[in-house]
Symmetry: C2
Subunit: 427 residues, 2 copies
């Protein structure tokens, strides 16, 4: 029939029983006449256990060696999965990232894929075998050292291999039924989305939705490769991530493009306010060069209107909480040079984002969002928008209220009710 | 000073604390001015745990995948060891068997090294780094698949690398102080041997002494590479395994060649007796082709004198107990063809062996051995000899008595007493 690449996360292969269940599923796909390539993450908590072990001998383990260590995790899961498949009477061959031709740069811990040369995978498929590939890992083109791809690495491996092999689809198996219109733990009426576009998925992922990682979606968009996000615990259709709403519906039905695809939220950011910045050219540049120079990714930025009487203004920005201390430190260093009055650090904030390509042709989305939040008694502290997204920063305590209000206001609630356990995809 | 290859077994790197202790020891060797290459086994019970995991998904896991799985064990230990060394301020780089250039045939689970091309190890040394290499593993020259070397594999890796790199010595670290004149758990007065020759060590290993494996000693002999067997828990000199007794004594003293180096014992064999074999040409050949055809390694063979009256004889042989059932099965199949009367299977036997190159020039060793065993009340069931070894099969219950009696009779008892915990080297 075709060539299917499947990716199973750590929670799908948490123990021997799960591995056997996944093996059965892979064999079913093979028996349906497909060539099958499987990308697998480390089993359950293996990666965390290995990190703990590393920490016991070294507070700051060298990145090269940490990659060598962590890649043992997928080595174990892929070999065990291949054995489980063999036990069902099908040939399976496991391959490390290096053997599968996943060539990366040499940034240990967050390497980027620069080429995929899956010659050994193609040979295995030609021999009728199922190929099992270690996710999350590759080999550096320049040093020949083993690298890891960082967060979302296994998803990226799967999409990159699927693109290089010309697969018909990349199936990302996780512990939820697909991509939802909101986190069902907050909004029980959240709906599974049958289809979402690459650009919407990118905005959702960047706004805190954890089901797919940015890099993997970017990769799929670049190669126009359909991703099918689905649960390894059921046989239900999940969510197709594709270029647009007209194609790729599994039942072949045209799906109407919604105005809003979903509501994402993010509790991982903090807000930093630089108070009393002298209102003259170049001050913002100086502030954000200092922060960027510390390797911090800034998300939203808001500058208040200058008080005419004082000639001073406040500049606020959000950044990951994990970088909060670093940001404050960087700014304290330039306080004298800039002459701002003080710093305020606030990690009790949350962000909610409305994402939908339909926004482009539907004015009034912002007004409706702000209105429904006001009605719900939620105060907005910062606002930022892209062409297909509106994000607002609110008090962290208001996040659930805000997500629920927006979800209802934009008619996203499932009339039949939702309720599925929602979780991350591991790495 | 020189180039030292050190091998640490699984018990020397059982947990994070042990790894740190070993790291310290390695750094000391480096600080003494040596280039250091370290070969390491999997930590503690890792290998057994991985085998358990494999068994949970497949009763008979494919050998290729089992090798892929098990090699994760050394990957973990070598990376963690490299981290521990880095934490002491020295650069260490870990390498898989494949990266270290350990090229093997494709016999998964018991691959043989056919070439060693340690280019990356030499580069690491040239850069001033300590190289850490995964023991027990290599890569198949023909299939490029990952292989394991089987029992004693890490020792063999160390010796093969030492030979390829032209090392001055290969230090095998274990949990005992060296090679002993007998198992100290049986003979408390057993002495550590300062020196033992390759050929004696080969006979000792083949006769059940577990401290070094046959293959590693064979390899060292072929390249005339000195092995220093010593404890990772002390700084004492251990046992030097070399070509002869004149060189390589660590203090430079000439060591007189003893008549007997040591007494080895082995409780892993069983005795099979084929009763009433018609005494005509070709019967022994038929019996042992059948047994060999089942892949069983036969150790000793004894054929009784034919009874003139019956025209029939008994043929006994020993083989590993683990192959006992297979041997009996193979023989039952040819009972009709051969016309023997019955089979007797006895796994309550033990073997003791006296090993010493001095035997060549000292007649009377056998007579003395048989005499001391008779005095001790031990009945001898089978005898076999090589140029430098005499082995006898006795009741398993008599093994300790026999070893002790022989050890005393040949003046091997340490006047100062011995008493060191004795154990295997893992793999």
């Amino acid at each position: 029939m075709g060539l299917v690449v499947q990716k199973y996360g750590g929670s799908s292969v948490a123990d021997a029983e799960s591995v056997k269940r996944v093996a059965k599923r892979i064999v079913e796909t093979r028996q349906a006449g497909n060539d099958v390539v499987v990308v697998v993450s480390a089993m359950g908590d293996t990666t965390d256990d290995l990190i703990d072990l590393a920490k016991q001998v070294s507070p700051v383990p060298p990145a090269r060696e940490l990659d060598m260590l962590l890649t043992a995790g997928e080595r174990i899961s892929m070999a065990v999965l291949a054995m489980a498949i063999a036990n069902l009477g099908h040939e399976a061959r496991s391959f490390t990232g290096s053997q599968a031709g996943v060539i990366t740069d040499s940034e240990h811990g967050k390497a980027r894929i620069i080429d995929v040369t899956p010659g050994r995978i193609s040979s295995a498929l030609a021999d009728g075998a199922i190929a099992i590939v270690a996710g999350f890992q590759g080999v550096s083109q320049s040093t020949k050292d083993i690298t890891t791809l960082g967060r979302g690495g296994s998803d990226t491996t799967a999409v990159a291999l699927a693109a290089a092999l010309g697969a018909d689809v990349c199936e990302i198996y996780t512990d939820v039924d697909g991509v939802f219109s909101a986190d069902p733990r907050i909004v029980p009426a959240a709906r599974r989305l049958p289809v979402i576009t690459y650009e919407e998925m990118l905005e959702m992922a960047a706004s805190g939705a954890k089901v797919l990682h940015l890099r993997c979606v970017e990769y799929a968009r670049r190669f126009n490769l359909p991703i099918h996000v689905r649960s390894s615990f059921s046989h239900r259709t999940g969510t197709w991530v594709t270029a647009d709403y007209t194609g790729n519906d599994p039942e072949g039905n045209p799906v109407e493009q919604p105005i809003i695809a979903g509501v994402a939220h993010d509790r991982s950011e903090a807000k930093v306010t630089v108070v009393g910045v002298p209102d003259k050219p170049g001050q913002a540049a100086a502030i954000f060069s200092a922060v960027a120079g510390s390797g911090i990714n800034i998300d939203m930025i808001v500058q208040n209107v200058s008080g005419a009487a004082t000639g001073r203004t406040d500049i606020s920005f959000t950044a990951p909480r994990t970088d909060g201390a670093k940001a404050v430190q960087a700014l304290e260093k330039i306080q004298g040079e800039i002459g701002f009055e003080s710093l305020r650090y606030d990690d009790q904030v949350g962000k909610i984002s409305l994402v939908g390509a339909g926004m482009r042709s539907h004015p009034g989305v912002s007004a409706k969002l702000f209105g429904c939040l006001a009605e719900a008694g939620v105060n907005i502290e910062m606002i930022s928008t892209s062409e297909i997204r509106i994000s607002v920063v609110v008090r962290e305590d208001d996040v659930n209220t805000a997500v629920t209000a927006a979800h209802t206001a934009f008619d996203l609630d499932d009339p039949e009710g939702g309720a599925v356990v929602y979780g991350g995809t591991g790495r």
